[in-house]
Symmetry: C2
Subunit: 507 residues, 2 copies
């Protein structure tokens, strides 16, 4: 290519990745910041993606025996104080409700009144409030396992926020389960991590690494935290889901006791696991390009836009007739297990304007229909994962079949692209200097651009973990389940190491 | 009947209606109170009913062109203060967030810290926060109508709470729309009231009266509030959904302006409308009996329970085989537009215990299968809306057809029963004394039991409305859309009246 191609999103990923991310969200009309500190407004196209995520995951949770319920948004301060590590982890950033009404302040305004005897915390996570119910629900081993999920809003008073990735309020699901023994609870913890990995890979088209968090990175109050880690296009890691083995910690603080098979009373074993609207951030950063959002068809709110083109009322009639016929034929049509939704965009805008509108929104397929197409019985089909001008002719009689197979093809292709990118950017590094060089930006204007994930030996000490974090802003993302056991020398201190772990910069 | 029949719920409706309501909820395991003031825990069976309500309504909102979005849970105090009537209506009972963290208090506990410069209110309704976004989204008449819905949790610091009917936190949907002119906004307001009435009647099987609220009962800040009112089995009214015509009030306070077709800038016209988890309370009180919950099949989480009965391992094998065959045959089976879900309850309990468990939960149909049924190829089918012992034999070969038609039959029958009850208890009363007698309890032990709805003339004065409220705890539930225009004498003051309205005691 001799000439620089114009792109719909400015700046490009190369020019300024962080700003590109904001501009993709704006161009696709997914969300916006509100005047409420750190809280976002999720706009219809963004919310429809979340609804699709919910629908698929909810089905997976049901198939694995979980049922939905709903617990109070407020957590009494006293509940919160029961688990020491837990309160330590969340007390620093939480919304505190202290009053129950507003009263005239005598200056024409209002002032908080009706002070509560005990402040309430807006839930930053629900282990303690759900634990209070579970303590009542569980009496005998016959009541176990208890497998509950909640879809809810969550508030954490984050200092630095970014749409979808880190917001004061976000939407999520939180699974909370109770089991008879260590083994069952551990099985559940890992089973749900697997559900998340399956969902990320097969629906979001994002390859993930499953592994365990280090002591320093685990959930406050958990015994073990497992996670799925994905690579974004700037080679940073995004933690995309977590599953916590809570041992008997929360059962003890909430009093979840049961009579076991031997007739003795003992504390139960619990788990919790969650994914959030952060997944939409992952989706954007994993697949989108310099023309805007790219959506895996299995999670797209709509799959195909038909763009009729006409210059006269006569042309309009014949073009709209074919457009409506095509739309009717695709009604109640599926690819794999996903229902196909279509748009017919006959707004009074040029075909180029309408094409770019939908390209930026990430709709997987586009068809333009003009009078010549009506005459020839062939339409041009364009894929969002190809160049905007790259179109293939498809006879109208074969269109339905082509759409069904192309949607599956796009899904597979987006996943493969992300997988190749990630695998190219995971490097086995054993040498200290090489490790430091890997994380040194090549270009001072782009301090965020670096080598990617390092799969390197670590001695397991907190000191080394901290030093690398301080020096490079790089952390242990996880101790992966696969290939982690290998003798070597710690990439930080050079001492003997038994583990190879995933290091990365992260969101 | 010579002998008093034993019922599963104690007390019965006759004995103590309010307590019966609590016991039905407990027996069906729908919800429970939490230790958080006035907040409930919605348990899986109750939450599944809410999910069904959501699914149907969401489809209706989509068909009428609405799209879902999500807005912040927190409302800055300053937003709240912009609309005078609105703040007046909600300031007296709201959760106020004043701090952003907890700090050690030096005595081993924690204390609220990080005071906010401006307090936030946990949304009691979202007109003001959604209005702030709409002001940015709407520029021209081409952006209108803007048709948005939100599914969310809501907090109102209610003084006296009751599961589902009135809780500090509840779940709801709130539609918010913006229009070019008075006519379009008024059409939308009434269209959505119609959607609610359609849903209440055709899914919840609850007949409703559509009408307008009086000045004193309308939504704070609205120009007109329309509502659907249902009669419960204690003859009290339950407001089951409201739709508000907001005129330009909120557009002015939020600054929602647009360029009209003449190129001039003007304030838009808005509406809002909502239903909540209160509908579950309506469902319980409209249909349930002294044996527990009765669910209209179209909203039931599950439709049929199969109860296998066996005494030996050999019997178990043959009975379970037939039970599983029946369950398999009903998979992916529909009645009307509703998918049929089934349960197979082979728990180690007597058949009577299992039957009563499901009767109390309101499952529409039950089948017991014993060895004799396997031999005869006929099973006994029991309907929840008939007496527990009332069963009809159905050949296994005809079971699927029988189930499909019986579910539709139960839906229709439950509605008819509620309709007859309501119509029998709406009385045209023109006389003052008769009106007062109608609302005087016949029995001192049951002060809540009274005549029902009075359809009576009202002069339209606030004084008469207030007097009747003070004297009898009776209010104007609505000015019904039908048959309201009729000359008469006010049932309170005896002056000329042009309107006949619905009076009732209410929840």
């Amino acid at each position: 290519m001799s000439k620089q191609q114009r792109t719909a999103i400015e700046p490009t990923r190369e020019q300024n990745y962080a700003e590109w991310y904001q501009q993709v969200i704006k161009a696709a009309d997914l969300a916006e910041n509100s005047e409420v500190r750190g809280c976002m407004v999720i706009k219809p196209w963004g919310y429809a993606i979340w609804e699709n995520i919910q629908k698929v995951l909810d089905g997976m949770f049901r198939e694995t025996g979980h049922r939905n319920a709903y617990f109070p948004i407020f957590i009494p301060k006293s509940y919160f104080e029961k688990e020491a590590e837990h309160v330590e982890g969340f007390a620093k950033e939480c919304a505190v409700v202290t009053h129950s009404r507003l009263e005239p302040d005598g200056k024409g305004g209002l002032v908080a009144a009706g002070e509560l005897s005990e402040p309430y915390i807006v839930r930053p996570t629900s282990e303690t409030i759900i634990g209070a119910s579970f303590a009542k629900w569980v009496n005998s081993y016959r009541d176990l396992p208890l497998l509950i999920n909640q879809w809810a809003n969550i508030v954490r008073w984050e200092m630095r926020t970014r749409l979808f990735l880190r917001t004061t309020e976000f939407l999520w699901q939180e699974g909370h389960t109770v089991h008879e023994n260590y083994e069952d609870a551990m099985l559940e913890t890992k089973k749900m991590l697997n559900v998340y990995a399956d969902f990320a890979q097969n629906y979001l088209a994002i390859p993930v690494i499953q592994g365990e968090k280090t002591e320093g990175e685990k959930f406050p109050g958990a015994v073990n935290t497992y996670c799925i880690e994905a690579m974004m296009q700037d080679k940073k890691a995004l933690q995309s889901g977590t599953s916590h083995f809570l041992g008997q910690n929360f059962a003890k603080s909430s009093g979840i006791k049961f009579q076991n098979r031997e007739g003795e009373s003992e504390f139960a074993w619990t788990t919790s696991w969650g994914v959030s609207t952060r997944l939409i951030g992952a989706l954007i950063m994993a697949h989108s390009d310099d023309n805007g959002l790219v959506l895996p068809p299995k999670i797209a709110p709509s799959h195909l836009v038909i763009i009729p083109i006409f210059r006269s009322e006569e042309e309009r009639t014949e073009v709209m007739k074919l457009a409506e016929e095509i739309q009717a034929e695709l009604k109640n049509c599926y690819f794999e297990d996903i229902r196909i939704y279509t748009e017919l965009d006959d707004r009074d805008l040029t075909s180029s304007e309408r094409n770019w509108y939908w390209i930026k929104k990430g709709i997987p397929l586009r068809i333009e229909i003009g009078p010549r197409d009506v005459a020839s019985g062939t339409v041009m089909l364009a894929r969002r994962d190809k160049e905007p001008r790259d179109k293939v002719p498809v006879p109208v009689t074969e269109l339905k079949t082509a759409i069904v197979s192309t949607l599956s093809g796009i899904q597979a292709s987006i996943y493969q692209k992300a997988l190749s990118f990630r695998d190219e950017n995971i490097v086995r590094i054993d040498d200290h200097q090489e490790f430091y060089k890997f994380y040194t930006p090549k270009n001072a204007n782009q301090p965020e651009i670096h080598g990617g994930f390092a799969f390197s030996p670590w001695c397991g000490s907190v000191a080394c973990e901290e030093k690398i974090k301080t020096d490079l802003k790089v952390t242990v993302r996880c101790i992966p389940f696969e290939n982690q056991l290998e003798d070597g020398k710690c990439v930080c201190c050079g001492q003997d190491s038994k583990l190879r772990v995933i290091f990365a910069k992260s969101y």
